[in-house]
Symmetry: C2
Subunit: 221 residues, 2 copies
């Protein structure tokens, strides 16, 4: 038997896109807005989701899929808010694989969901490469992380339609130029919608929640 | 021709370990201490290296290999301190691959280096799985990231012999229980050496620098 050359990367990518199309069909069938929330570990994704649940209460029905390498700490936090939640543990995977999301969706009552927030594994590289059929990709960047991050991780900033600048209450205590990061983000993605926010003070949360609600309205027309 | 089953993951891992052994040999031949510095994006790795260069000046000769997906921003920062530095751009890779480190070493004068600091790509998942032949793996965790991180990313905390708790100057402004994180880290890795530090105030930098200097002394005996 001779050597066999297998274009593994290409095959994986095609499979990921086919999987994403299946997920997109599930979201469309249930008339829900799927939000893929990506960031570094510790940017405040879970806290942002908790704030959104409050801001959208009575307007939109939220469900959450949590993705972590290990533990169900985040799902336990979300569950206290009385919304549907399912925890994915990816084990060694640095992103939520589409097949795991498909399994998770089977455990939720999607007929009673308007906005599904998928909190991806904390990572600025891997989740950028794996579409989950989402309507909106949101990248969160906390002001403690450094304003050069869009330049260092261009793919995730290019493929996210919204940028959540989190923890702006900490701006007085860190070296972080909001203007620099906004310029860098727009150079990579001119259409990006940028929201400055703090889950501690509540600043900017309502505007961000309104944008997601409007995107759901537009989808279900 | 029938189907062929290829244990890709296993083959990749064996190759990575063989590559790491080669690197270990290079470090031993040059009697230098290799430090693999890992963390989330924005935990303050580059700033910590800058502080270490100052703290070790006149005692140990430092060289730095910077790893980022894109840009040479970090190498430019380090170069200003007058030490040898080489920037690796990994493009789509979420960690420094051993072969790229090997190439980088060829561009440094290793005969005049005591401590080589390798700043890995900002990521708590991928770098944990790829040994670089290092003598010491240091995981940095900033106090803005959340004290549950050792539970969520156990592999990187288990395989790191030192934990640098960075940005402790921000403790008054964030919800972060240093006791919790130390307990979680020691549950995963009882032998871990924990250093609380701030590159802004300088607190803890000297103790951490002394530890690295002592590890180099012990290696070259």
């Amino acid at each position: 038997m001779g050597n066999v050359t297998i274009p593994v990367g290409q095959a994986v990518q095609q499979s990921a896109e086919a999987e994403a199309d299946i997920l997109k069909g599930v979201f469309a069938a249930h008339r829900l807005l799927a939000v893929n929330l990506v960031s570094s570990p510790g940017s405040g994704k879970t806290t942002l989701i908790e704030a959104l649940i409050g801001a959208l209460a009575g307007r939109k029905r939220i469900a959450v899929v949590e993705g972590d390498v290990e533990t169900d700490i985040d799902a336990a936090r979300i569950r206290k808010h009385g919304v549907q939640v399912h925890q994915i543990m990816t084990r060694s995977s640095c992103h939520i694989p589409p097949f795991m999301l498909r399994e998770a969706l089977g455990r939720l009552d999607l007929g009673s969901v308007d906005i599904l927030v998928i909190e991806n594994v904390g990572n600025l590289v891997c989740p950028a490469e794996i579409p989950l059929g989402e309507d909106v990709r949101v990248v969160a960047l906390s002001v403690t992380e450094g304003d050069e991050k869009p330049l260092k991780y261009p793919l995730i900033f290019r493929t996210s339609s919204l940028l959540a600048l989190t923890k702006i209450d900490l701006l007085p205590y860190v070296r972080f130029d909001v203007g620099n990061v906004e310029t860098a983000a727009r150079a990579i993605n001119p259409e990006v919608g940028i929201f400055r926010m703090s889950s501690v003070t509540g600043e900017g949360i309502a505007a961000f929640a309104d944008r997601l609600a409007a995107l759901h309205d537009a989808k279900v027309g």
